[in-house]
Amino acid sequence: MATLSLRNLVKTYGKVEVLHGISLDVADGEFVVFVGPSGCGKSTTLRMIAGLEEVSGGEIRIGERLVNDLEPKDRDIAMVFQNYAIYPHMSVRKNIGFGLRTAKMPKADKEKRIEEVAAILGMGDLLERRPNQLSGGQRQRVAIGRAMVRDPAVFLFDEPLSNLDAQLRTQMRLEIKKLHQRVGNTIIFVTHDQVEAMTMADRIVIMKDGYIQQVGTPLEVYHKPANTFVAQFIGAPSMNMLPGTWTGGGVRLADGLGIELPRRNATEGAEVVLGLRPDDLLVTDRKGLFSGTVNIVEPLGADTLVYVGVNGHEVIAKASGREPPQPGQTVELTADAGEMHLFDAASGEALP
């Protein structure tokens, strides 16, 4: 078990810089999820931590040890890959025990360790099977077992659930989280699924184009997004973004509509963007912030998503699941001032 620290981590491929100075401190036993769109550099960062990619600049420390130039096997890490990478020609027992081959411990202890890990993963009676006799979920468990068996300081996961079907993914998500609570190792988990990030992480690192956009707990990144990218990336459906100007006491939207807001750190007349999550923008019976015409209704059971046309553009709002509005109907929309997000239009930075 150990802390992990990245200092100004840079990665270049030839002349192209794909990571532009990533800095991050991960506490001992913390579960950190890297999330971001495809190509943002999540895997590259993870693979540099693992030692599979050379470090072009900056420092990686595991514990207090600088590991930049250490071989993967000397870094005290283990990695679980997207397509499992368990060896098809070996039994589950051999696969799990593979990482112990070189460990200096008596054979009996190794066997015990393998059985222990298998028991934790609920695979005790599958040890003699070959991978092709296992389901996708079981294979992924073998891969996790192989990582666990060495009890590494840091676990690295690169989109380990994306090959599983939706139901299994939810189940494995829970299992990995339980596993973390049980074994307590530091975990770095890469995904492009923001739901996975929200549900599993102690802290989320949101990346884009080789830069970290924000680091925070799931609630922080949801309720206090640092910029428009984070605001739109986290939460589904995406946050509604309404351009306007700051009037000092509120926002005047492009279509002339005025919305009052508590004091913000913006200069009067500045171009801003008002962000409203669909979850916070509610269809109401009373007079709301503004009104619009319902275009499309998407019942989700508990709630209903309504796509509302407001002065020529469309916002997504939420209505009750029991008595949803009908398409064509005019509805009033309201939101709590505390849940309104304001961003600088040019830089995208949040204006607190």
């Binding site: 693992a50 599979l52 071989e71 096997k73 890959f81 397509n83 020609h89 092709n132 294979r139």
Partner: protein
């Protein structure tokens, strides 16, 4: 009532289109079978001819009848009682086996390096290896011969084997097969602490077993039946490989085809064994790949 009509019509529709589809399928089936059958006949004919000739007396050899008028197994007793046959068989077995082991090993090693490592000149080396495929053996035997002569390799096992200890085709084949091995496997092994050679041997090689088996069959057959080079590099009858030895049956005026065919018939046995042994790997490999998620 109307609904029932519709239902009946619908079902007769599907019946009809079903039967026409079936007949079209039968037609396709027929053509396929006919093609396969003629292909099979073409391939089997020489073998049948070989067996038939081996059962003939010399006077009948140039009658092209398939069933010998007076079948005899005298040729077999003659060949099997001739001590030279066993000697040549043994020579061929040693040469073909060692060459196969060596070629499969080095082809896989080089193919793997060309496929999975990034280093300057990689592409150039690959092209250079591939381009040797375009040079026919007939052109190479002279330099090979001169080389063997100056190194004193003439009339030795090594002299027969050295051109085949690595093959361009095998290198190409293995490189292509290693492309199908996801890098994740290798990286997982790297993290597990294997060195690069162990990764190749313990992880990558088992994953391409079907290709290794196919390559082993090719190389073995190629060397077992090789003729020109062994003929040139060997001088003494003691060093002949089986094909070279067989061709020496007969005298200056007459080629003893019935004996050659007999020897050839016997010499197909090891190739059958090799094929049967390795074929199982190929089929198992395919099944395994099919189940891999």
């Amino acid at each position: 009532m109307a609904a029932q009509d519709v239902a009946i019509k619908a079902s007769s529709d599907t019946l009809f289109s079903g039967s026409s589809r079936a007949s079209r399928r039968n037609m396709g089936q027929f053509i396929r079978w006919a093609l396969l059958f003629s292909g099979g006949v073409l391939m089997v004919m020489p073998i049948v001819f070989m067996l038939s000739t081996s059962l003939k007396f010399p006077f009948e050899v140039y009658n092209l009848n398939l069933i010998p008028e007076e079948p005899t197994i005298e040729n077999y007793t003659y060949v099997l009682e001739d001590g030279r046959f066993y000697h040549w068989f043994w020579n061929s077995l040693i040469v073909a086996t060692l060459t196969t082991i060596s070629a499969v090993f080095f082809d896989a090693l080089v193919g793997y390096a060309l496929c999975k490592f990034r280093f300057p000149g990689r592409y150039l080396i690959f092209i250079a290896i591939l381009s040797t495929l375009m040079i026919p053996t007939e052109m190479l035997v002279i330099p090979w011969y001169l080389m063997s002569k100056s190194f004193g390799w003439l009339d030795t096992y090594w002299g027969i084997m050295f051109p085949g200890i690595m093959t361009a085709f095998g290198t190409f084949l293995m490189k292509q097969f290693f492309e199908t091995v996801p890098d994740d496997f290798l990286e997982a092994a790297r993290i597990d602490g294997l060195n690069e050679f162990q990764i190749w041997w313990q992880v990558a090689m088992p994953l391409v077993r079907p290709a290794l088996a196919a390559l082993a069959i090719f190389v073995f057959l190629g060397n077992w039946t090789a003729f020109i080079w062994p003929l040139i590099v060997t001088n003494s009858a003691d060093m002949y490989t089986l094909p070279v030895g067989l061709s020496s049956f007969g005298d200056e005026v007459d080629v003893a085809w019935e004996l050659i065919m007999t020897g050839a018939a016997i010499s197909t046995l090891p190739t059958l064994v090799v094929f049967l042994v390795f074929q199982r790997f190929i089929i198992r490999g395919v099944v395994m790949a099919g189940l891999k998620g």
